[in-house]
């Protein structure tokens, strides 16, 4: 049971962070299909930083620096999406897909150059990120991203609903022409939305890779987690608190694959492939049930053209 809680919290926070990122982007009117790629880039930057930082450094500082680097890397990469989708008014779906393809290839090449060999794997130590909480005889391992995630969730909620900036951002996703007519710079707010998504996507990618294993093969990217986060966002109806709930729901399914061997589930005799399928099947069912009366931002996916009224 503790194992299930551990993995649910781990995956749930990752899904929530990335889905919140997607939410900011879509609330400002830009569909961010590049989340998968942004996560890979963030993970790569964070892990590389861990490998480069000197051994004797204080653990707190290591954690802080690597998280900041992963966030900045995600932000910079997301600017590529912003440039094509906002400045050049290109098709957002195509741009996002291209960035996904590029991210994995880029990560593999950079890691291979860093390793100086044909291996795309990086080894790292993740002790600084983990905290053990004793529960009875056993212990529950949680990681720093749990706290970071909860703080970000609170900030995201306050930003979106309790500040004038949140209102401006949302208005750009609902009716950019109306927003523009009252003096809101739609292009700037859409860039801000995309940059937020890059920031959170970068941290999310790092949070996915770091706590569970100490070796990562960058050839696999982040194994479809960015897309799962998009499903979480839709299930969460583009609202922070709902996204948190949706993320935890999905995380339970995702965790089943990790705990299948060591718990009562082993008795069922199902293979890993079946458990791997589960979060995707669950999200499919959820999407079918919830897409009919979807409350998606009205102007998402449509490039804003000042000249078009």
């Amino acid at each position: 049971m503790l194992l299930l809680i551990k993995y649910t919290l781990l995956y749930g926070i990752v899904l929530m962070l990335v889905a919140l990122g997607g939410m900011f982007s879509e609330r400002s009117g830009v569909i961010n299909l590049a989340l998968e790629g942004i996560m890979s880039v963030g993970a790569l930057a964070g892990v590389l930083t861990l490998c480069i930082l000197p051994q004797g450094m204080a653990p707190g500082l290591v954690v802080l620096i690597s998280i900041v680097v992963s966030a900045v890397a995600g932000l910079v990469y997301s600017l590529l999406l912003g440039f094509s989708a906002i400045t050049l008014k290109a098709d957002q779906t195509i741009g996002g897909t291209a960035l996904n393809m590029m991210a994995t290839a880029l990560a593999v090449v950079i890691v291979k150059v860093f390793n100086g060999s044909a291996s795309a794997k990086l080894n790292y130590s993740n002790n600084a990120f983990l905290i053990d909480i004793p529960v009875g005889d056993d212990k529950l391992t949680i990681n720093v991203f749990l706290f970071i995630g909860l703080i970000i969730l609170l900030l995201a909620f306050l930003f979106l609903y309790k500040t004038k900036w949140g209102l401006r951002l949302r208005s750009c996703g609902e009716h950019p022409q109306a927003a523009d007519s009252v003096g809101i710079n739609v292009y700037r707010w859409r860039y801000i939305g995309v940059m937020f998504s890059g920031l959170l996507g970068g941290i999310g990618g790092f949070a996915y890779v770091i706590p569970s294993v100490s070796t990562w093969n960058f050839e696999v990217g982040v194994t479809g987690f960015g897309f799962l986060a998009l499903a979480v966002m839709i299930f969460g109806q583009w609202k922070p608190i709902n996204i948190f709930g949706a993320a935890m729901f999905f995380a339970v399914f995702k965790s089943l694959a990790n705990i299948a061997d060591s718990t009562f589930l082993a008795g069922l005799g199902l293979s890993k492939n079946v458990y791997d399928m589960m979060p995707f099947i669950a999200s499919m069912i959820i999407l079918v049930l919830f897409s009919k009366n979807s409350r998606a931002p009205k102007a998402e996916g449509i490039p804003y053209d000042k000249g078009k009224r």
Binding site: D91, G95, M101, A105, V108, M284
Partner: protein
């Protein structure tokens, strides 16, 4: 009299519209070429960054692609042709769906399920190759139909659906193949499925003598792919069905208002797209280019995703897909020929990624090129509105001149 005038005014209009169509086609090709050149330049810069000393040599290796070592053995060029055939199919799959306004990112999943169908009919049932191909198409079509149905009836975004179905297909196919659920297909000593050509010779796509020039895996698959591309071109551009699909792509509501069943169009478009991707898998596995590895459960088949690149680079033109698939196969093979001591084969993937990223705003290039071309053809562009403004008198004068 009035008849002749309308005919006369219609004739030049038609030729001009054909001309402007030609110009826009040239612009599309030019903008794709600009994308390719910039992509290659970025690749060159990456090569220089990694190892400046061998950059020129490495860049040439990528440019030459399949023609590396052509004198010693035809391995690379065979690989290029053999891999181009399935790429054309997945490219057509994405392009066809795009004409109906659907972004079929699920070609990889349809390809996986198609592979399962092809392998089952070949390795277990020992059917002749054309039956195996049909089976693969059917499997792909079913897998493509589901996102289509969900889109049409439940308004679920087909991009998200097909991504989910990619992963479900990958895990499902791996599960069925690895545990030999459907029959003996998995050779555990080699970690791969059995080789089609040795297990069931009749199920392999025939070579027709091509293996004398190239390697064994070069079959008539490439010709099948080209023929299918031509058929798709005809369906999209010359039939009522194709027109209905395109109308749905341009404006779903307007198409519905005009009496087109938009739900049927969406579903049929995805069914055909799925069948094309399934056919691609059949061309790959029945030619024996490679075998399925059910232990590889972390990434969907690359050919499925590269279909997106093929389609976008071809601006979703079926004939263009043939050329862009050859180009992408060329660059990929070129990347795999890079000396691994200095460079990584994935550099080719970065180049392709950059090209697609640029294709996303190819419209911008198209406009820029259009401006340059416009300077040359200003007279033509001005001629168009003038015809409509023709006054009856001048028409008559023109006729008189003609009669003389």
């Amino acid at each position: 009299m009035s008849n002749t005038t309308t005919m006369k005014s219609a004739a030049p209009k038609n030729s001009i519209s054909r001309k402007s169509g030609l110009i826009s086609a040239t612009n599309s090709i030019l903008s794709s070429i600009v994308c390719i050149i910039i992509g290659l330049l970025v690749g060159f810069i990456i090569l220089v960054c990694i190892n400046a000393e061998h950059a020129g040599e490495g860049f040439m290796t990528i440019l030459i692609g399949g023609f590396n070592n052509i004198n010693a053995h035809a391995r690379n060029i065979s690989k290029e042709i053999a891999e181009a055939a399935p790429l054309i199919m997945t490219g057509l799959s994405v392009a066809f769906a795009y004409k109906t306004g659907l972004f079929n990112i699920g070609a990889a999943g349809q390809y996986s399920v198609g592979a399962l169908g092809a392998l089952y009919f070949a390795l277990v049932l020992h059917m002749p190759w054309y039956i195996c191909i049909l089976a693969a198409m059917l499997c792909g079509a079913v897998w493509g139909a589901i996102p289509g149905l969900l889109k049409a009836f439940f308004n679920v975004n087909e991009v998200i659906t097909s991504i989910m179905f990619n992963w479900i297909a990958l895990y499902g196919v791996n599960e069925l193949l690895k545990n030999n659920v459907l029959g003996k297909m998995y050779e555990s000593t080699k970690n791969k499925t059995y080789v089609v050509r040795t297990t069931s010779a009749g199920s392999a796509i025939p070579n027709m003598g091509l293996d004398n020039i190239f390697s064994k895996s070069t079959t008539i698959a490439i010709f099948i792919a080209i023929i299918v591309a031509i058929i798709m071109y005809i369906i999209i551009n010359k039939t009522t069905f194709g027109y209905e699909l395109k109308a749905c792509g341009h404006n779903k509501d307007a198409a519905k208002y005009a009496g087109i069943n938009e739900k049927r169009s969406i579903i049929l478009s995805m069914v055909i797209a799925g069948a094309l991707a399934g056919l691609g898998a059949a061309l790959f596995y029945l030619s024996g280019v490679g075998e399925w590895n059910p232990n590889d459960s972390t990434a969907c088949p690359a050919i499925g995703f590269n279909g997106i690149s093929v389609a976008l680079l071809a601006v979703c033109n079926p004939i263009g897909c043939v050329f862009s698939a050859l180009l992408i196969s060329h660059i990929t093979v070129g990347g795999s020929c890079l000396a691994t001591a200095y460079y990584q084969p994935e550099i080719a993937d970065i180049i392709i990624g950059v090209i697609i990223y640029l294709c996303a705003f190819a419209m911008l290039f198209k406009m820029l090129i259009g401006k340059v071309v416009k300077v040359k053809s200003t007279s033509d562009a001005n001629a168009d509105p003038q015809i409509e403004l023709h006054e009856p008198d001048s028409d008559k004068e023109a006729e008189k001149e003609d009669e003389e």
